[in-house]
């Protein structure tokens, strides 16, 4: 196992542990902050995999943005002090069973198959290549994304705004 693989497993372990904390933690605020660990681990995986742009994106958007949004979202409910375990989940064994089944099925299928992408991944920086695609082939999607973001902005501002009487 090379150093790459060790680091890869390290980050994988970090993200799995973070996700487990997030799911199992009885305090919803702690659950949110353990997501930090999960997001960070995923960013590390991207970096090791040579996807530098994705790693940056993961940090900037998920750790820096989405997490803050979730934290605010949770904190404005005012029910954070209550333990999450109050609502007894009746279907927990069934849920675990289904999740495990899906996981094992997917893992089994993925192990047996070969990917076309991945084998020819290079270690070159990806940001510039992505910029090239974004401004060339994907120009329509790129410009449309701005309209999409504008719509999301207006909608979010409307939902949060207090109506003037």
């Amino acid at each position: 196992m090379g150093i790459d693989a060790i680091v890869w497993w390290l980050f994988a372990a970090v993200s799995v542990v973070g996700s487990l904390f997030a799911v199992l933690s009885p305090s919803i605020v702690r659950a949110v902050f353990s997501l930090l660990l999960a997001f960070g681990g995923v960013a590390g995986i991207y970096a090791v995999a040579g996807a530098d742009f994705l790693a940056i994106l993961q940090i900037v958007v998920y750790v820096g943005g989405v997490l803050v949004l979730i934290a605010f979202g949770i904190l404005l409910t005012g029910r954070t002090a209550q333990a999450l375990g109050e609502h007894e989940v009746k279907n927990r064994p069934l849920g675990i069973l289904i999740a495990a089944g899906i996981f094992i099925g997917l893992l089994g299928a993925l192990m047996k198959s070969s990917f076309k992408i991945g084998g020819n991944a290079t270690n070159e920086p990806t940001t510039e290549a992505i910029g090239k695609l974004l401004l060339g082939d994907y120009i329509v999607a790129f410009e449309f994304a701005s309209v999409f973001l504008l719509m999301a902005l207006i909608g979010a501002a409307y939902l949060v705004r207090r109506e003037e009487a």
Partner: protein, 502 residues
Amino acid sequence: MLLAQSWIPDLSAIFTQFAAEAVLCLAIPVIILADVFAGPARREKVAGLIGMGALVLAFVLALIQPADGVMLTKLLRADGLAKAFRLIAIATGVIAAVGAMRGEITKARTEFYVCLLGAVVGACLTAAANDLAMLYLAIETLSIAGYLLAGFRKDNAKSAEAAMKYVIFGAIASAIMLYGMTLVYGFAGTSTIATPEGMTYASIASEAATAAMSPAFLIAVVLVFAGLAYKIAAAPFQFWCPDVYEGAPTSVAAFLAVASKGAGFAVILRFFSAVTSGGDMTETLQAVLLIVALVTMTIGNLAALRQNNAKRLLAYSAIAHAGYLLVGVAVTNQAGATAVVFYMMVYLFMTLGAFYMVGIVERQTGRTDIDAYTGLGFRAPMFAACLAICLISLTGLPPTAGFPGKFFLFQQVFAHAGEQQSSLFFWGGVIGLLNGVISLGYYTRFLKVMYLCDRDQIPTGSFAFGGIDRGMVLMLTAPVLVLGIAFQGLRELADTLAKGIF
């Protein structure tokens, strides 16, 4: 450089091909600017004017836009399928806007139109997308606009609940679909869905046709389908549908039931045409689609039997119709796609008509339960007759357009069963027909309360049905009746538009 073209004609050609979408996209910033400068007094009026104007202009442009399938960008395909579902989405947008302006949405019209135009353009681009990345962006635009519209009545707890449920289910479905897309991309090595004629680049379709695909590819396709099944409200992703339709403003529910579902079907047609273009998975995928279709329509119809709320009932009816339409996809051939496009166009009129009329009753009585319709056959004969026509059409009985629609769909199923010697498809067709009988059970409940009630139960007081409302309802109902008899023209149109999908 020899290919030297300035970029201006290149992009402007794309804009010409997608003029309707461009107009809608442009209208969003224009509305916002107008809102800022119009001043509080004229704000709502200006927003309505620009929003409706953009929708109507887009509809006219969509009518004359080419459908030759020439690819100017790898991301979008201007073919018949895109044209058909673009028309459906924009028409639905216009009618939803008219319905909303009749009283449901009185404040914040700027925001309403921004979200509605976003949803419409999202639906149009979803139908035209030929690249997984573009597809995801378009679907998310449609979804997020849908979440916002569903929760638009901020003062209404049910509306907020609807939006919340829609968001949570939607996020999960979207995540599953995105995971499936990444796997498909990994297996195929490209995110382009299909290679149009005359082009050589690789696509998911060309990879699926040549390479022997692993079982994991099948799983990936099913994962993508799961996300799309959510959009069209097919089992087992239909739970959100009744709650959202009940809580959302009625015109928004109508939009979700037609435009959102239509866009989902456009993608399903395009995507499944790509992954069944050869290879050994076709039969399995056909079976998966058929079983999902049958389960969906059975769940929808059985659950609708117990509903007393008109909006919930229509939601379950919309679920059942997702099942009927999926049957047409399951045969994965040209004739099936034609049947889906034909049915979708018929579905547009009858569903929008039914929702519009439910909206009228809700506005006048404040109620959405079936008892609110008591005696309407005598109080408002015209209204009741129109509603009856739409419901009979939803059941699929002649002389309404629902009959040829269902006939073409199930004709394909039995034809497929005969060709492939498939007993699964034969029994699937039988179950589908039985479902039609079940659906009679709940649609006729409307007819019963409207016409067969005791005279003394009829509420007194007038039922206003005139002006714009009457015009809209007649405009939506007349085609249902006309197309029930003279459906040949629409069938030919559907045939032209669906050409080249499979």
